[in-house]
């Protein structure tokens, strides 16, 4: 009958002794190491398990969307897939979070190449004629210029659609889809799809995101060059501390390097909020590095 009480007393005494040790700074927890010759330091040796199917979408400006549920088909990016992935992302990082080496190059093919006759008398479309330094620069130029509206009546209604332009208009933004006679009725023949541009239907100020499915180039989707997607096909376990050299500098490369950066950035921005996979490990490493 007394045995349990004795046991309780023994356990209580052990706890008290342990608490004294704990108050003195003795660790209450030890992490086992595979190698007995190296020092166990859980802060640096923690491991991250990346869930199977985790997907990271990186935009031109270095923003990132991370999803554990989006099922990428591996068949190339389209605007629809980008939108779906972004909708399913559980974690989002702002512009600049991802280094340039992981970003898409933004070097989109010119949608206006071979788009038909061009009589070289339309100065408004200089952007389409000059060699492009980058797709974005030329896109910006084309937006800044007085952009002729479509012959399509809908374009007049949407002429001042500042912000998102999700319409299925026929405007492909190309300079000369066929004859450019400035009468608003010309039908372009250059690529077989370009409707006549020019005309006086007003400026189509589609500032902001223009996510339209341009019938002018129905297959032209810039998502492939404006976004880059990284998929972890199977569960991966790794120790981010392995990317640290003896001086405490990071040497990050490959998909695991990207994940390490993204997890660290997430921890930097949001702490442990929403349990980003591995963020506790990264935070412990960063905290350790900051303190030593």
């Amino acid at each position: 009958m007394n045995e349990p009480r004795t046991t309780d007393r023994v356990f209580l005494e052990k706890r008290r002794q342990l608490l004294k040790l704990g108050a003195a700074g003795v660790p209450m927890l030890l992490t086992m190491k595979a190698s007995a010759s190296s020092t166990a330091h859980s802060a640096l040796d923690c491991q991250i398990t990346i869930p199977e199917g985790l997907t990271i979408l990186v935009s031109l400006n270095g923003a990132a969307w991370i999803s554990t549920t989006y099922d990428y088909d591996g068949q190339g990016l389209t605007s629809q897939k980008v939108a779906a992935m972004q909708n399913q992302s559980q974690y989002v990082l702002p512009a600049g979070a991802v280094p340039e080496r992981y970003r898409p190059d933004g070097d989109c093919p010119d949608p206006c190449e071979n788009s038909g006759d061009d009589d070289d008398d339309d100065d408004n479309w200089a952007a389409a004629k000059k060699p492009r330094e980058s797709y974005l620069a030329s896109l910006l130029d084309s937006l800044m210029l007085s952009k002729p509206a479509n012959a399509d009546d809908r374009s007049t209604q949407l002429a001042y659609n500042w912000g998102n332009d999700d319409d299925d208009d026929d405007d492909n933004g190309c300079s000369t889809g066929g004859d450019d006679d400035d009468d608003g009725n010309g039908n372009g023949n250059g690529n077989g799809n370009g409707n006549g541009n020019g005309g006086n239907n007003g400026n189509h100020n589609g500032w902001g995101n223009d996510d339209d499915d341009d019938d002018g180039n129905s297959n032209y989707d810039t998502s492939e060059c404006e976004y880059k997607i990284f998929v972890f096909d199977s569960q991966v376990q790794y120790a981010p501390g392995d990317f640290l050299d003896s001086s405490g500098n990071w040497s990050l490369s490959g998909k695991l390097g990207l994940y390490t950066i993204v997890a660290a950035k997430y921890g930097q921005y949001y702490g442990n909020y929403n349990s980003f996979p591995g963020v506790s490990c990264l935070l412990s490493i960063l905290t350790y590095l900051n303190n030593h």
Binding site: F11, L12, K14, R15, R16, L18, L19, K20, G22, A23, G25, P27, M28, L29, L30, T31, M32, S42, A43, D45, C46, Q47, I48, T49, Q237, Y269, Y270, G271, N272, Y273, S275, S280, C281, L283, S284
Partner: protein, 101 residues
């Protein structure tokens, strides 16, 4: 959301589905599925882990509850010691944050 990971308003818990335990004398071996690591916990740290499995605690709530859990007066288990023990569990990823402003 600029809050750090140690805000007093945040609540934490241990998810028993994330690890397996094996008791050997006074030491409990805890294998964490998430990290793939095995940790050795003594009676005190294991008691805290068990307490955090039962329900989420903020650090302040844990400081109040843990001495009673060990059946010792607060003087023998002050909040600073509780915070340090909790920090050890947090460092190895055995606890996770569940809510908080």
């Amino acid at each position: 959301m600029p809050a750090g990971p140690n805000s007093d308003t945040w609540r934490w818990r241990a998810n028993a589905r994330h690890y397996r335990t094996h008791v050997l004398g006074d030491v409990t071996y805890v294998y964490c599925h998430l990290s793939g690591e095995t940790h050795m916990l003594n009676l005190v740290s294991m008691a805290m882990l068990d307490l955090l499995v039962q329900r989420p605690y903020s650090l302040a709530e844990l400081a109040d509850a843990f001495p009673a859990c060990l059946d010792v007066p607060v003087a023998e288990c002050p909040p600073a010691v509780v915070a340090r023990l909790f920090g050890e569990l947090d460092d190895v990823g055995l606890v996770e944050r569940v809510s908080g402003a």
